[in-house]
Symmetry: C2
Subunit: 215 residues, 2 copies
C-alpha cells in the first residue's frame, strides 16, 4: 500500500517535471539540479561559479531550503536573479514547487538556471524537477564511505564536485577511494576537485559549464 502511494506520487511528479523541461527548453534555459548532503557547499559553489563565469553567460538560481532565506540573500548579493523556496519540512524539491516559482525569474534572460535542492543525500535524487542534468557535491570532510552508502545520487548525477579539498591534510578521507567508488557506480561521472574556500579547481568546473551551454 505504501509503495503504491509513493509510486503514484513519483509518476505525477515526473509528468510535471516533463512539462517544466519543455518550458525551460522553449525559452533556451539549461537547467542544473544541484544536490548534496547538508553543508557540502552548494551555495558556496554557486557563489564561486557566479564569480568565475563573470558575466560570460547569464545565470539564475532557485534556492530550496526547509526554512530561511540565507542562501537566496547570498546569491542576490552577487546581482544574480534568485528566488527562494521554503519547503516547510519537505526533504527535497519537487516539480510542482519549481512550477510555482519559475515565473518569478527572468527566464528569457537566463542561460543556465541552477536549482539548489534541499541538503539531503537521499531523497532529492528520486525527484526530477525538470532539469537537463543533475550535479552533486560531496564534501571530502564527509568521508570516503559515502558513495557506496548513498549510491542513487552518484548514479543519477552527470558531474560530482568534490569540495573542501583544502581540508584533505586534516582528515582521514581517502580521495582516491571516493573517486574509485563513485566511478564504479557511474563510470561516466565527471569529477571535479575543488575548494570553494581557496578557489582551487573552480576554473576547471566553470570551463566545463561554459562548454555544456554551448552544445
Amino acid at each position: 500500500m505504501k509503495v503504491k502511494v509513493v509510486t503514484n506520487i513519483l509518476e505525477a511528479n515526473d509528468r510535471l517535471a516533463a512539462e517544466n523541461r519543455k518550458i525551460f527548453q522553449d525559452l533556451g534555459v539549461y537547467v542544473i539540479n544541484l544536490m548534496s548532503g547538508p553543508g557540502a557547499g552548494k551555495t558556496s559553489i554557486l557563489e564561486q561559479t557566479i564569480k568565475g563565469v563573470n558575466g560570460r553567460i547569464k545565470l539564475g538560481v532557485i534556492e530550496g531550503d526547509i526554512a530561511g532565506d540565507d542562501d537566496a540573500r547570498r546569491i542576490g548579493n552577487l546581482g544574480t536573479p534568485v528566488v527562494q523556496i521554503n519547503t516547510g519540512g519537505a526533504c527535497h524539491l519537487d516539480a510542482n514547487m519549481i512550477r510555482v516559482v519559475m515565473d518569478d525569474l527572468p527566464l528569457k534572460d537566463i542561460d543556465i538556471l541552477f536549482i539548489e535542492n534541499v541538503g539531503n543525500l537521499v531523497c532529492p535524487a528520486e525527484f526530477n524537477v525538470g532539469e537537463d542534468i543533475k550535479v552533486m557535491l560531496l564534501s571530502i570532510a564527509e568521508g570516503h564511505d559515502k558513495p557506496l552508502k548513498y549510491p542513487l545520487m552518484f548514479q543519477e548525477s552527470t558531474a560530482l564536485i568534490l569540495n573542501k579539498i583544502d581540508l584533505l591534510p586534516y582528515t582521514d578521507a581517502d580521495l582516491e577511494k571516493m573517486r574509485k567508488d563513485s566511478l564504479s557506480l557511474n563510470p561516466k561521472l565527471k569529477i571535479f576537485d575543488v575548494s570553494c574556500r581557496t578557489g582551487e579547481g573552480i576554473g576547471d568546473w566553470v570551463n566545463w559549464l561554459l562548454t555544456i551551454v554551448k552544445k
Copy 2:
C-alpha cells in the same frame, strides 16, 4: 490527499514505536536514536563511546544504512553486539524496521541500545522508532547555518554532539553561532564539543551517558 496519507503513515509508525518502547523498557534497555547528516561521524562517536565506556555498562547497536554493512563491521570489530538494517532506499529508519531486527540482539544483556539512523538531517527526526531520547551530531565542517535551516532535528534532540572540532582552525565555521542558534531552537539542548579523530571531549559525553543510564 498527500498530507492525509503521510499523517496515517506517521500515526501507524507512532503506534509501533510505542510498542517497541514498552518492549525495551520491560527489558531494562535504554534506547538512543542517533541522527545526523551524512558523514557527521555517527559510527565514529559509537566507536569512541564503546572505548570510553570500556565495559562499565553494556552497549548494543542497530545500524541503519541505505546500502552496505561497513558500519556494522566497524562496531562488530569492537566486540559490541550489532545488527545492520539496509533500508534499500528509504531515507530514515521507522519503528517497524526496528521491530523486525530487535530480536537479533541480546536485549537482556544491553544497558544502552544505540540506533544509528540513516545519514539525513531531515526525515529521521519525523519518525519515532521506540527510543527514550534522540541525540544528534553535527560536523562543524557542515557550517554554522545548519540549525536554522534544519530546525526540527535540533528541536527533537535531547543532546547535540558538535563533532570534528579539530577542523575548526581550517574552516570559517562560527561555533558560537552554532551553539546560540541551536539553543534558540531548543533551550534545554545539552551540547558536547568533541573530536572523534583526536578523542577531545569524548570523556564528557561518556560521563553524561553513564549518568543517564543510572537514572
